[in-house]
Symmetry: C2
Amino acid sequence: MKNYVVGIDIGGQTCKLGVVDAAGKVLAREVIKTSDNPDAAVIVGELAAAVRKVIDVSGKKGEIRGIGVGAPNANYYTGVISHAVNLPWAAHSEVPFASMLSEACDGLPVAITNDANAAAVGEMTYGSAKGMKHFIMITLGTGVGSGIVVNGEVLYGSDGFAGELGHTCAVRDGRKCACGKSGCLEAYCSAIGVARTAREWLDSSDEPSLLRKVSDITSKDVYEAAVAGDKLARRVFDFTGRLLGEKLADFVAFSAPEAFVLFGGLARAKEFLYQPTLDAMEANLLSIWKGKVKILFSRLDESDAAILGASALAWETR
Amino acid sequence: MKNYVVGIDIGGQTCKLGVVDAAGKVLAREVIKTSDNPDAAVIVGELAAAVRKVIDVSGKKGEIRGIGVGAPNANYYTGVISHAVNLPWAAHSEVPFASMLSEACDGLPVAITNDANAAAVGEMTYGSAKGMKHFIMITLGTGVGSGIVVNGEVLYGSDGFAGELGHTCAVRDGRKCACGKSGCLEAYCSAIGVARTAREWLDSSDEPSLLRKVSDITSKDVYEAAVAGDKLARRVFDFTGRLLGEKLADFVAFSAPEAFVLFGGLARAKEFLYQPTLDAMEANLLSIWKGKVKILFSRLDESDAAILGASALAWETR
């Protein structure tokens, strides 16, 4: 019986990987710093060596069912990573990553998807969404990502790219977003968006705030100021939660999920975000859904969550 | 072999029904005026008599596979019509309509869903979306309805009510909608919304317009004025199309459909709506989707479309 899987979370400079059992326990883990080499074959070789090492450490050689990978701009249907600006080896090309990694790992099956979809599968397999058939994962990190689960499966759409809720419109003709559009949810409800709101509000008023002493304000600074009771910082979270909740109501009208699961760096500010998000969602729901849709936070151990999310994909590989 | 189905479209005062073959040809049709009786059992009896009659006329007795029904507030999962304000017999109660009708029709299987979902199944089975696995039906009538198809199936969500895109937010803090919320897509991009826009604009300016001669302006009046070259009327459609297109872009970010299919009374104003809708959608799409998502119009014969949509549901009944 092959009762173990490998999960790989691919980032710009580092990749995390681990061997995971069916209960979501990480038996062995590894973090590697990938080289700056623009040749995808070189990176795949480095990763394959790390996979072999982590399997050896876990003692489960021969019992691995497959490899799941979460990576930016990764397409589940095609196995290709394309034009991922943060990955030097896939920034300007289409890399058939799943087949390359499978070949380099002695034919182990490989499934890939983007980070937010991997997180959704992780929550469904091991986390807050266990047993749910309809939920939406929202990752609140540097950007805002989403993984939509419908009938117990990630919604990939006609082309494999469905679920880009971070780039739906939160404020018509609002702030410029990194994607080139204006007013995207990501421009407001990401770590970068929160810092930007704080900076804009500080610039446009004389209101006293602990944040006035901070240079290059980050979302962490805003969070710490809010913890210390800073009124402006708390209002930043009220505003952020309101915009998020308004959009969640629209997403309910789309797929009628049982719950949202929030995850990522910004979701750590749960104490300040939860209530304004819930209030705004409720105020904008059709009456048939009022009081029925939960807003949950990921319960996965944060340091392992990326590995778990990616690994969960591998249970379905063949 | 049972190669025929019955489709029933239930409205406030009238119900349309017909016997349909696999190619979408209506062999016999009937329109009945339902009584004002608030007792659902009476209405079901009237409908069952009409079903027997239309089957007799079609000459296909014994060859009927099942009955599909499109009705307001009809739940596919439960077979219940609940709190449908326009149906006197289901306005204040939960009517187990599917089982009641099946019993009254000698046990023929009955599937029900709301009008917009029925329209989506109709388009997929016989119309513009034939062969598509991912598309979104938008019905632009008195209200705005939607039927979302994912992996070749209607998306019903956790409770059977998914796909209420008419009640997503088009204008934050905008016009009051019939649902009680503000700024819903339905408040702008329905027949009623178009008439309301025209009336508001006439009231707030002195701009000459053919519509100034019309009392109780309807969307048909606005359409006819636009055909006659009226500038204000044309701008009403530009505005309506822009709001619709902006929301379509958000819906693409959700489920990455191949196409939208527009249907309903207002969709007849295709010549004025298409271009502004497409332009606004394209301007708000992420670059991965630009130029790739089609906006189509229903090709089903308008007088039969409601029967066809409902009947298409019946092919899946058992």
